[in-house]
Amino acid sequence: MSALLEAGQLEAWYGATQVLHGVSFSMAPGSIATLLGANGAGKTTTLRALCGMVRTRGAVRLDGQSIAAMATEDIVRLGVAHVPDGRGTFLDLTTEENLRLGGYARGNRRELAGDIERMYGYFPRLKERRAQQAGTLSGGEQQMLAIARALMLRPRLLLLDEPSFGLAPLLVAAIFDILRTINAREKVGILLVEQNAALALELADQVFLLETGRIVIAGAAATMRDNDAVRRSYLGY
């Protein structure tokens, strides 16, 4: 059985500056992986490179199919949902319109209404705010909206860039619970970039440690918790 996602010698540039220098890793279907690394290590860039948002070289395979040269929108249409750095909310549109857009690429209009309701089930707060302009939602509400919007795609792979950013601890815990549920119920693979390494390690099956554009350590989350380097740099004990 082929890997859900496979990156081989991935390099990426912003203008003339190379930021990724050969990132390679692979994720098993239905698994949760987390990408850890210091600020500026290239985590956000890795997610961008995976869905063709920056100039890249190297191989990317989704369920064995090469997606390296594809346009972002075509990659999304293959079932890769990306909650980008900064959430990517359509601020002038309403909450519900944002959700409708999340399902835009699926084509199946009939399931849309049901799926929106399902998201309201996960995030009841969004239902109360359904007709409100998304730009006026609170930071936490916008984060929920971003995740819900990504889930509207019914993705097979979900890329999350710091979903806990700026959220209260309780809310973070709730969101991670939802991620776990979605992973278990819908078999969605999740690649998570997270500053809160302790939480990420708890959720993830696999860990990749990124340092200045290279994967330096890769392994099962359970063993990583005991890895000295990881512990010292990311867990702080």
């Binding site: 929108e73 999304v76 359509f90």
Partner: protein, 290 residues
């Protein structure tokens, strides 16, 4: 009083035309943050296409529909062929390309159809509607057509997923790609729609000003003024601005400065709005969280 009402009403008629062209400008502005200087000439050229079909014996409404379709295709092709390749390069490059298009359409029309003024038929009856003596039936019809176009556009952007996708792509192209919207195509579609709306304006104005390659120059200026007065990023504002500017033009022309300085009025409006209130009367200031 009677004369005043007549002036206001005929102002609304021309205002409807300005509103349509302004709407076309706003649509392109929303999608690309560009002001299309060639919008008027494109509309003029499409009106010539309509004239050609009518001349060949097509029934009016068939020619009308075919022209809209052709205009749409024209807009899409222009976006694909010249606008997209120039991409995000300097404003100067983009403006130069627009001016190039303006000149090409103008001269093409002159070349193919000559510079002699041509009459253009109205689809509406010659005798005034409802026995009124203020506005011709063409005037009423033109306003009606403008309002129908507006309603259709509103419905398209408000209720269809393609319309929603176009709004999303205009607002935030990066995020739009991340939900699978083909932003390049929504832009081309925006151009097509703008060209189509413009061609309708051309066909509605041609019966009153007659058809010639330079018929849109003044109208484009007023449409600019309308779009700016209403707020260049706000379709409703553009339409309101169109009617407002149309009425203003007529009243000023009739009572204050005469008709000979109409273009100067537009110039003053444009510079005035840009300097004093660049967001226009109804320009949207993005709602910020309090």
């Amino acid at each position: 009083m009677d004369a005043f009402i007549a002036q206001v009403l005929s102002g609304l008629v021309t205002g409807g035309i300005y509103a349509s062209v302004a709407l076309a400008l706003v649509m392109i502005y929303q999608a690309t943050h560009l002001v299309n200087f060639a919008q008027g000439e494109l509309a003029m050229f499409c009106t010539y296409l309509a004239w050609t079909m009518l001349d060949a014996g097509f029934p009016y409404w068939a020619a009308f529909a075919a022209t809209i379709a052709l205009a749409f295709v024209c807009g899409v092709v222009i976006e694909r062929v010249v606008i997209r390749p120039i991409g995000e390069s300097s404003v100067l490059a983009v403006v130069v390309v627009f001016i190039g298009l303006l000149v090409i359409f103008n001269s093409l029309a002159g070349w193919i159809f000559t510079y002699t003024v041509k009459p253009f038929p109205s689809p509406f009856p010659a005798e005034p509607l409802f026995g009124n003596h203020y506005v011709s039936s063409h005037g009423i019809g033109a306003i009606g057509v403008t309002l129908v176009v507006l309603a259709l556009l509103y419905a398209f952007f408000r209720f269809t997923s393609l319309g929603l996708a176009m709004r999303a792509a205009a607002q935030n192209p990066v995020s739009a790609r991340l939900v699978g919207i083909r932003v390049g195509w929504t832009r081309a579609l925006g151009w097509g729609l703008a060209a189509a709306v413009g061609s309708i304006a051309g066909m509605m104005v041609a019966p009153t000003v007659y058809l010639d390659p330079n018929m849109m120059a003044g109208i484009l200026l007023y449409a600019f003024a309308a779009a700016l007065v209403g707020g260049i990023d706000n379709p409703w504002g553009a339409v309101a601005g169109g009617f407002l500017v149309g009425v203003l033009e007529n009243l000023l022309g009739a009572y204050v400065i005469g008709t000979e300085l109409k273009l100067t009025v537009a110039l003053v409006l444009i510079v005035g709005v840009l300097v004093i209130r660049p967001s226009g009367l109804f320009g949207r200031v993005t709602v910020k969280r309090v």
